[in-house]
Symmetry: C2
Subunit: 204 residues, 2 copies
Amino acid sequence: MSLRNALLAMLTSQPMTGYDVYKNFQTSVGYVWHAPDSQIYPELRRMEQDGLIRGESVAWGKRGTKKRYSITEAGVESFQRWLNEPPDYQRERDPIRLRAAYLEWADPKASMDFFTAHIAYHSARIDDWKEMIRTLRDHSNPTLAKRIEGKPPEDADRITAYKVFAYEGMIARARAEIEWAEGGLDLVGKLEKTDQAKPLDDPQ
Amino acid sequence: MSLRNALLAMLTSQPMTGYDVYKNFQTSVGYVWHAPDSQIYPELRRMEQDGLIRGESVAWGKRGTKKRYSITEAGVESFQRWLNEPPDYQRERDPIRLRAAYLEWADPKASMDFFTAHIAYHSARIDDWKEMIRTLRDHSNPTLAKRIEGKPPEDADRITAYKVFAYEGMIARARAEIEWAEGGLDLVGKLEKTDQAKPLDDPQ
DNA sequence: ACAGACTATCTATGGCGATAGATAGTCGGC
DNA sequence: GCCGACTATCTATCGCCATAGATAGTCTGT
């Protein structure tokens, strides 16, 4: 159900076409939620049927048309209902930790690469999110700008603060991952330091 | 493909029935990976077809039988190949952060509850994982005991260390979540402190 | 001897999501 | 006036996963 709410969230800022949403999922909002277009278009159609959004065809060039969706009152209510619900957590399913738990079976070199890749990945994400926070804080983010236009400054600040805070959460988690992976590099170095160290290749 | 590798990982310790696997996914290993039985049994059948595991019917009581699976050499190879691959990361899809980013639409009380629930959830997980680490360190964990039996102490230590380290990673991440959520409580308290503060209920 | 808890396995349905590929129109630049 | 990049939308398939429910045997205690 989160895809639906991610779409509603976006449409609270301004009316958008499926393609606009898709683009946003690849950049800004995409750092928190992502979906391919093959999921977006059908979901928008279903949401229209459910009365959460309303679509209107708008001209695009001479012959082309596109469909722009606006959130309805029912859509806002549904979105708020979701926000007010207690969160639900699914059971853990963590491929990274799963692998880490069995590194005695891996090649030591591959284990080092694994942690190095983990650090690189999360460092890159931190850069993305920091940049995102920058565009939020200076209001150069177009979606945010649309969202706060015409609002009193306190509301604008409040809206911005929650978004910044969400990205700070992503950064905090990524930092924890990096620290952990650095510990992993140390651990592998310590445990596999001898030349003759090799992965277990004999089951049982 | 991670379910398959989680199953292989478990079977490197000892032969197991589908039900054994299911039980483990509800407790010990379940803190890192989880799957319902309706996923486990068919996947085991497919893995047997692919030659990664071998099943044998064993008697159970007078009339009953159960199927116990052992990992094959091909299974070990496949598992190691996975461990040596570079990790792949999917795009972000974070319902918690998604919600946090739009709390201006939520009821302040619900926002507080949201962060409180987040803290409670992750605190509970930390307790689980700490207990898990305890049973690993003192070798009272039966799966680990089976896994290291007959192995020289250095190997036993190495095997244990990776497992402990994986759970430490879970704990580190959970701590980051708790810290973030505490910041969330402060933020909501600060932004919504006035009595007349209420969620935006006017779209556009 | 029976109840109740547990072991063991299976099927069905539906949503979510990844991947791939198809179609068609627009717009800017050479 | 055509090409290439982009906008806009759609379909199909497949694997993963949640949820629900069915079946049948075992084991323990009263």
